[in-house]
Amino acid sequence: MSPADCTGAVSLSNRGSLDEESREWLRCLAGTGREGRGTADRDQALARLHGLLLGAARSELRRRSSVRIEGRERDDLAHQAADDALLAITSKLDRFRGESRFTTWAYKFVILEVSSKLGRHYWRNPPVQADADGWERIPDRFSAGPAEHAESRELAGALRRAVTEALTERQRDIFVAIVVDGIPLDALAAELGSTRNALYKTMFDARRKIRAHLVAHGYLDEKGGES
């Protein structure tokens, strides 16, 4: 999937292990390929790359089963993801070190843009909850099949106590939003002006503390599984 034939004698010494296709992309996008053809080659490569990014964004929006966006709205989202990914790629071209193929590196930008845009889009039309108390759905969340009523109540009760007693207020808010209310992590990050990484770390600590609480109270054993 090369951009065009714009091979030129350009020094790419800091990216010694580059494959030829990636090398060609860089030459074309930098406009340093064939003499007198730099701008034309660059424009052609940008158009080609945008087309690839747009195709990947459309496919990714179709692939994600949780996405409830159709038609023109979905295509607009794909265009926005491709446009923003292209901007990010061209501004960070000097950071590409050739540790992966150029197209893999470039596609990563558009996949991450799709995730980010879906997170923000969630709040335009959030799903309506069937009942006010998400804790009532917790047994379904952690059950592969029809659970015994008594076991379901015990599990939900134990988890709720652990959340209340073991977590900080911030950890509790994040855990309840994601696990009890079912808000996607990227959507919550967009709403709170936070990042996926920050919320994941909060959830990581919360999961560890809840597990320790359930072990200490005899619901789970130390090695894993129920006691």
Binding site: S59, S100, T104, E151, S152, N197, R211, Y219
Partner: protein
């Protein structure tokens, strides 16, 4: 798997887990390694990223998306 086992699996954390930022920084390298050498070899080479992609739904989705994009790109 009953409810308690599912809950325990969800709560289990892996100390090798590198977090979202590092996993996404290296995702393209990880995906190329999966394409070239297979998932098992890559998981052994990058255990911290593998642990994260197993535990983090959104990053796991991005991983699957990047693999799918490259599969669609193949001649």
């Amino acid at each position: 798997m009953n409810g308690w086992q599912a809950l325990e699996r969800f709560l289990r954390t892996d100390p090798q887990d590198v977090g979202c930022e590092r996993a996404m920084e290296l995702l393209d390298i990880y995906v190329d390694a999966v394409s070239k050498e297979g998932a098992d070899v890559t998981e052994r080479r990058y255990p911290g990223i593998a642990a994260h992609l197993r535990a983090c739904g959104p990053c796991g989705e991005d991983f699957a998306g990047l693999l799918a994009a490259l599969a669609g790109d193949a001649p």
